[in-house]
């Protein structure tokens, strides 16, 4: 049977399709703009496939339901935005300590505080740097199209399971709310049955899951194991799009909606004779340091401009990746404002003049 798998979808909807096609059994969520369609779509489609949807009492409830479902050996997910993600951080820290996979969609909005529902990218710190207590990381995928909202959600499940850790799909209000055509993949055959799930009987003993280690050495050992895993991820999983970077003298770093605007700006700047390029992280943990190191080894780039819808959060990782060997400037908008292509070009030209000619 042939099916229409090319649909016009919102980013928020596409993420849910991706999850279902990846074999996710359970969705637990709490409404919040601009992520609400994630919950709406899940409420419609999960029960259609006789899978579980619950509107939880809070984001805290939702992430803990995810813990229960995942510990039981099922794929589970939740979705939220900014302040809701803040509430989930306790649970995410536990997931990291349990070494359990889970997928969390964050359709970011303006902050701090209640902020507003406009698009911002100011959740970078809480997603990439840990967010909750303890030395842990989460995988963070950064789609910039509706197609990638679907594809990266599938990938988030794959990576989360491969490394047994939580994975975020970090979108922004624009990517979540916009519609584009999406080619939906075929559903995967379902084979998921993790050997570590609670209650599996091994040698007559039922598996248990915990995050408490009273012996200091035991907890240190867990931490060392986690860190080794993160280093391996940094080695093996970096993911970025490099656009016209080979001969670029000014390189823009941008992800999510900013990266699309940046790409338009790079073409515009090239048309005006400015050698511009773009590094677009498709994941920000692991951060694509290789792409930035390449700029250093090929020696053409004179300056990097971090384009963000935050006060400048990713820029710290850009600077670290470049080891302070190239100047890094910030151009940003905040509060729900999305930079325009013209603004970005103007900022790039100003920076170009200062550092290149």
């Amino acid at each position: 049977m042939q099916y229409n798998q090319r649909l016009l979808l919102k980013g928020n909807e596409a993420a849910v399709y991706g999850a279902l096609l990846a074999g996710c059994d359970c969705f637990f969520g709490y409404p919040i703009t601009p992520a609400s369609e994630v919950a709406h779509t899940a409420a419609r489609l999960f029960p259609k496939l006789k899978r579980t949807f619950i509107q939880a009492e809070s984001e805290i409830g939702a992430i803990n339901m995810v813990i229960g479902a995942v510990a039981s050996g099922r794929r589970a997910m939740t979705g939220s935005s900014g302040l809701g993600i803040s509430l989930k951080q306790e649970g995410v820290s536990y997931l990291a300590a349990y070494e359990m996979p889970a997928v969390i969609i964050d359709v970011t909005r303006g902050g701090p505080g209640l902020g507003n529902i406009g698009p911002e990218q100011a959740d970078y710190f809480q997603l990439v740097k840990g967010g909750g207590h303890g030395s842990y990381h989460c995988l963070v995928l950064t789609p910039n199209s509706v197609q990638e909202m679907c594809d990266f959600t599938v990938k988030a499940f794959d990576l989360a399971e491969k490394y047994r850790m939580p994975a975020y799909v970090m979108a922004d209000g624009v990517i979540g709310q916009m519609m584009e055509s999406v080619q939906l993949p075929d559903p995967r055959p379902y084979t998921y049955d993790p050997e570590w799930k609670m209650g599996r009987i091994v040698d007559g003993k039922a598996n248990y899951i915990t995050s408490i280690y009273m012996e200091y050495d035991d907890l240190e050992a867990l931490n060392r194991r986690l860190q080794a895993k993160y280093r391996e991820i940094e080695r093996a999983e970096q993911c970025a799009e490099e656009f016209m970077t080979e001969d670029a003298e000014l390189v823009i770093a941008a992800y999510g909606i900013c990266s699309r605007i940046a790409k338009g700006a790079v073409s515009e700047l090239r048309a005006q004779g400015i050698k511009a390029g773009l590094i677009r992280p498709q994941m920000v943990f692991p951060f694509p340091t290789n792409s930035f190191e390449k700029l250093l080894s090929n020696g053409k780039a004179k300056v990097v401009m971090s384009l963000e819808m935050s006060a400048g959060q990713m820029i710290e990782d850009v600077k670290l990746a470049l080891n302070c060997k190239l100047p890094v400037e910030l151009f940003n908008r905040m509060g729900g404002n999305v930079p325009s292509c013209a603004e970005v070009c103007e900022a790039a030209k100003r920076i170009y003049k200062e550092y290149v000619k």
């Binding site: 049977m1 099916y3 229409n4 090319r6 649909l7 016009l8 637990f28 703009t33 601009p34 489609l45 496939l49 006789k50 579980t52 619950i54 939880a56 009492e57 809070s58 805290i60 409830g61 803990n64 339901m65 813990i67 229960g68 479902a69 510990a71 039981s72 589970a76 306790e90 649970g91 536990y94 507003n116 529902i117 406009g118 209000g173 624009v174 916009m178 519609m179 584009e180 055509s181 075929d186 559903p187 995967r188 055959p189 799930k197 609670m198 209650g199 009987i201 003993k205 039922a206 598996n207 248990y208 899951i209 408490i212 009273m214 012996e215 035991d218 699309r260 790409k263 338009g264 325009s340």
Partner: protein
């Protein structure tokens, strides 16, 4: 009550020895001598064994002195964040309906930090049994005030006694739960002396029996000795519970609807077979559209085209834009549709932006447009400036006089709602607008071939949207034709 007694007559649900317990002591539990936790563990273990559900039991351990319950129970277990056991239990119970979920919680865990998770799970009637240890203080952290601490009771954080004026009265959990509709069984017991423990045993067995029979939510609250933090001997603490606590927390069964509650069914298994998933998620290909090879070559779309649709909520503004975007999808354009969301919607205004392009679309946000459809005066005032100097404006004649435009701009009016009402379905007004657009584009921009394809792709989009409502499809096509005719007559 010493821990030796717990060891005696050990249930097969307990490990023997407790090898998961770190350190040299593997024969008894980590609880203080005289602690109620060990007694309750023993009763629960016996009940699990009696009802034969060990293999499928999930034991959710709280944060509190019982955090290490998984040292003892040989069943699926997890130690969860403070207060969140009923939420974790909800996830487990829904994800694996064949499992029997036990949420085991202290009074700080359940009645303070986790009260919301608890009461919501109770209200949903989650299929789980909650064992609630009320020892009138926070045990694990060294005897601080709990929600259940009695008036004037001295604890580490109520050194002058619980002051009901500033700290409130103790929380009566069973009574609160008894106000809800869903719970099946609610009983308060005490773990003091043989007679009470026999009653407690019955209650624990009932809750586990309900679990086996899939009968929804059961709660057993156990008034439980914590001699260490109460700084009492075993006898003193039992007396404290029997005389003081029970006055505030009367023992007894508050509700037992087990008999009249039918045994719950195991829900159907999730659909996971790829072919079945496709069938449920997608629509069959035949009968819609021309297939992937269909492209539209009209020259006006060699350039990126931006369309702004605006008006007020309820006019179908978003869906008008959506139909346009869908038409573009069917002709394999790159297309984006972006709504104004949130506060912009408040006060009734609605707008969306559609971009069609043969190249990648950098940003779906629109600050200048080739076509502006304005269904209200306010919408025109707000977005009029975005119209390019050679742009096209379509306005609603019932909402405004013909607006003045710049010399290069074209302006056309239509009473789409009137047309739709004539057809007999006010919701078809969008299609009348799209029909008018067909006439305008046909006259000024499209080759006859492209114009015919525009009409065709509209039909495809509408047919796909209302697959199951052929009458609605027909009404929309009629509205499209009427809009097209009316605009054509204006254009001659």
């Amino acid at each position: 009550m010493s821990t030796e007694k717990v060891k005696f007559g050990r249930s097969k649900v307990f490990f023997d020895p407790f090898e998961r317990r770190p350190g040299p002591i593997k024969t008894n539990m980590h609880y203080c001598p005289g602690c109620g936790h060990g007694i309750l563990h023993k009763l629960i273990a016996e009940a699990i064994e009696y009802y034969g559900i060990q293999e499928n039991t999930v034991f959710i351990a709280p944060v509190g002195c019982a955090v290490f319950a998984y040292y003892y129970f040989n069943c699926g277990s997890i130690s969860v964040p403070h207060g969140r056991a009923p939420a974790v239990g909800t996830g487990a119970s829904r994800a694996t309906p064949e499992k029997y979920v036990i949420s085991y919680q202290g009074d700080g865990d359940l009645a303070a930090i986790g009260f919301n998770e608890f009461i919501q799970a109770a209200n949903r009637g989650e299929r789980m049994s909650v064992f609630f240890v009320n020892n009138s203080n926070y045990g694990m952290t060294g005897g601080q005030m709990a929600p259940t601490t009695l008036p004037n009771q001295v604890t580490m954080t109520s050194p002058y006694g619980r002051n009901v004026e500033t700290d409130g009265y103790p929380v009566k959990v069973c009574e609160l739960v008894n106000a809800l509709e869903a719970p099946v069984y609610i009983e308060r017991v005490a773990l003091t002396g043989t007679a009470n423990i026999i009653k407690a045993r019955k209650a624990v067995f009932k809750a586990i029996e309900n679990l086996r029979d899939r009968k929804g939510f059961s709660l057993v609250e156990a008034l439980s000795p914590c001699p260490v933090n109460l700084k009492m001997t075993a006898e003193q603490v039992n007396e404290f519970i029997d005389t003081k606590m029970t006055k505030y927390f009367p023992l007894g069964m508050l509700r037992d609807r087990s008999a009249e509650t039918p045994a719950g069914k195991v829900p159907e298994a999730p659909v996971r077979d790829p072919e079945d998933v496709k069938q449920l998620l997608f629509t069959a290909k035949e009968g819609s559209g021309e297939g992937p090879a269909t492209v539209n070559n009209s020259e006006i779309f060699n350039e990126e085209r931006r369309i702004r649709v605006s008006g007020f909520g309820g006019q179908g503004i978003l869906s008008l834009g959506h139909t346009l975007a869908d038409m573009a999808r069917l002709r394999h354009f790159n297309v984006s549709w972006m709504p104004s969301y949130g506060p912009e919607q408040r006060g009734g205004s609605a707008s969306c932006a559609v971009i069609l392009s043969r190249k990648a679309i950098p940003s779906p946000l629109v600050d200048s447009c080739d076509l502006l459809i304005a269904m209200t005066r306010a919408a025109l005032d707000k977005f009029g400036y975005q119209l390019k100097d050679d742009g096209i404006l379509i306005y609603d004649t019932s909402a405004m006089e013909k607006p003045a435009v710049k010399p290069g701009q074209k302006v056309f009016g239509l009473d789409a709602l009137a047309i739709a009402n004539r057809i007999g379905n006010a919701k078809c007004a969008n299609s009348a607008v799209l029909g008018a657009l067909a006439a305008i584009l046909g006259k000024f921009a499209l080759t006859p071939e492209d114009a015919a394809d525009y009409r065709k792709v509209f039909t495809e989009a509408i047919t796909e949207s209302f697959r199951k409502k052929p009458q609605v499809v027909e009404q929309n096509i009629a509205a499209f034709n009427a809009g097209c005719d009316e605009m054509s007559s204006q254009l001659v």
